[in-house]
Symmetry: C2
Subunit: 337 residues, 2 copies
DNA sequence: GCGTACAACTTATGCGCAAAAGGAACCGCC
DNA sequence: GGCGGTTCCTTTTGCGCATAAGTTGTACGC
């Protein structure tokens, strides 16, 4: 790889002059030499050494995207088929702004922070990482951080969070079920934290507003580990007759549940109505097609990246940015009277 | 961020001594000072400046992962829900080897090569990038390159390719259809290049081995652009009565087609048998569950990364590595007599 | 004809690190 | 008691770049 020094030598001028041309500093160099240098640069296809540049400038032009990883396959976000849209959104946005993306998958916020300070990353996007330990570590590290889908109270004080109006989403779809005559409505999820908790709250609120009492038996817990999922699904199917509808926390679970129900001869929506959340291909191509709550996952990535870029440019951004959801009515809900 | 120089100053010793401790060069430094330095390093949580290190060492510890992008959503690989598994495989493997991953999404091989030489990336994994122009550019750039799913004849001469035995996969599943009594079998795809061509060839070979003649009307072309897909699906459904089975080039298309067929009252597998390729959630949770060809997409990422790491360590690797496929028999094929 | 201003350069410095080269002190050995 | 070999340090150099500071030449104003 050719260096500025070598170019300067061959053109018989100083490195500063070459550097000035590269940075388009007009007024510092005559049109004549400028052209000479530019032509040479084009000829040799000069590419700056980023390490040297970053060292001199104390910046990196790197934005880190850290994804939560856990032991279990479907708790490891990179294994969620639809994260790739989010990744794509982030990459596209920052690339257009002249940044590069370093992807990091880990469950250990502290490890990520170390990595981030090693690389002198200019900014960081954390997806699915809660962890108050991470917040403590990131305090030292002064660079901008934007979170995605974090409901950590502590975190929200420190960083901008880009999320969804999860509560409104499940509120709307639960309300839709109620309008269709349903009263015995269950909620299915694998945990009661963060995003899932917000969705649960929306569901509860819709019940409350309709004067329907929520009981803890309405919560159907699915255990997603491959060793337990079959047993877990079996229990849920056995209890399905207690309800006329089930609000699932995600399309993935909705579709998984529907497959299990159909395998047991329980028909959707005739015997039971099922709704999801996310609106991805899984529900779209299922028959009957899944009634669900739409979210634009790519927009989440784009918004997070945009927000970070704003911070990088020195602007303040709000603590909480909530993207809207939209009810998508398809064929898995039966009107009952 | 604290520097070696600052540490040396505070401990009243030279930077080289500190650097030696950091690099664990025993024998160069007494146990006494070693401990002193180590304690200090732990205390201040020293993190090296990678830019400086890389500049001095002329390496980067970065591995680039470049994904093909195209204008249309489903031709943009990052939008394929199942690429994330591959990304996860690559990330995990290289992280365990002490490397970092830079993700790059572009359709322009030349642009990628520029980026790659800017960052002085140690090695590169190209996924879905064919382009003989890219090969030419990469000639200049001497770093190791591993391709995934590339069928470029020219490319194979230069790089190791990690792929699938695509031909065998469609051969096996077509053969299975034939064994179930099918003779009028169509093949559905959106193009006839690379991976899709190999899958088409496997299908043709199975037909030939069974003495069934292949006609060009057996090829059902699907147009995946959102503006055209409905019309395209409609044409295909209208022609479905010409066949008793359709081999789809991917699970996504198989599931998309099944939804369209069901919407038109054509039943799978009673009226027509459908098989896919990939074995992902889409087919797994569909009812009837999709008969398909399994591939381990994460393994592709892991293998590509491993291969690259081997090259980085100075080893030669074979030009072509083909991962096996496996027939997964479920419920979308009817036995006919 | 002297000072000022400015254009168009060059020289010199430092970013943080790694490593080559250079020393000083000590040991054992013939 | 001089010499090679260790051990444990320090000094120095340079990676490629950006930039502050310095230099020259020339035009201009009065």
């Amino acid at each position: 790889m050719i260096t500025i020094k070598e170019i300067a030598k061959q053109l018989n001028m100083s490195t500063t002059t070459v550097s000035n041309v590269i940075h388009g500093k007009t007024g510092e160099v005559s049109d004549d030499t400028k052209k000479k240098v530019q032509d040479f640069l084009d000829k040799v296809d000069y590419v700056p050494n980023i390490n040297a540049r970053n060292l001199a400038q104390n910046e990196s032009k790197i934005i880190g995207l850290a994804l939560k990883a856990r032991a279990d396959k479907y708790e490891n976000l990179i294994m969620d088929p639809f994260v790739s849209e989010l990744i794509g959104g982030v990459e596209e946005t920052i690339r257009n702004a002249g940044y590069f993306m370093m992807l990091y998958i880990s469950s250990d916020t502290v490890e990520i922070m170390r990595h981030v300070s090693t690389w002198n990353v200019d900014g960081l996007i954390l997806f699915g990482m809660i962890g108050d330990d991470g917040i403590r570590v990131s305090e030292k590290y002064k660079k901008p951080i934007v979170c995605i889908d974090t409901y950590s109270i502590e975190g929200l004080k420190h960083f901008t969070n880009v999320g969804l109006d999860d509560e409104q989403g499940t509120y709307d779809i639960t309300n839709y079920l109620i309008k269709q005559g349903h009263k015995k409505i269950a909620f299915l999820s694998d945990n009661m934290n963060g995003v899932d908790l917000a969705r649960l709250n929306g569901y509860k609120k819709a019940l409350a507003d309709a004067g329907i009492k929520y009981k803890s038996t309405n919560f159907l817990k699915i255990r997603p580990r491959s060793s337990e999922i079959e047993e877990s699904l079996d229990e849920i199917c056995k209890r399905s007759s207690e309800f006329t509808a089930i609000v699932c926390v995600s399309d993935l679970y909705a579709v998984t549940l529907m497959a299990a129900l159909e395998d047991r001869g329980i028909s959707v929506p005739d015997d039971i109505s099922i709704v999801g959340f996310d609106d991805n291909m899984l529900g779209k191509y299922h028959r009957p097609a899944l009634t669900t709550v739409h979210q634009d996952i790519k927009a989440k990535g784009v918004t997070a990246a945009d927000t970070l870029l704003k911070q990088l440019a020195g602007h303040k951004t709000p603590n909480q940015i909530q993207l809207p959801t939209k009810l998508v009515i398809r064929d898995t809900v039966k009107k009952i009277s």
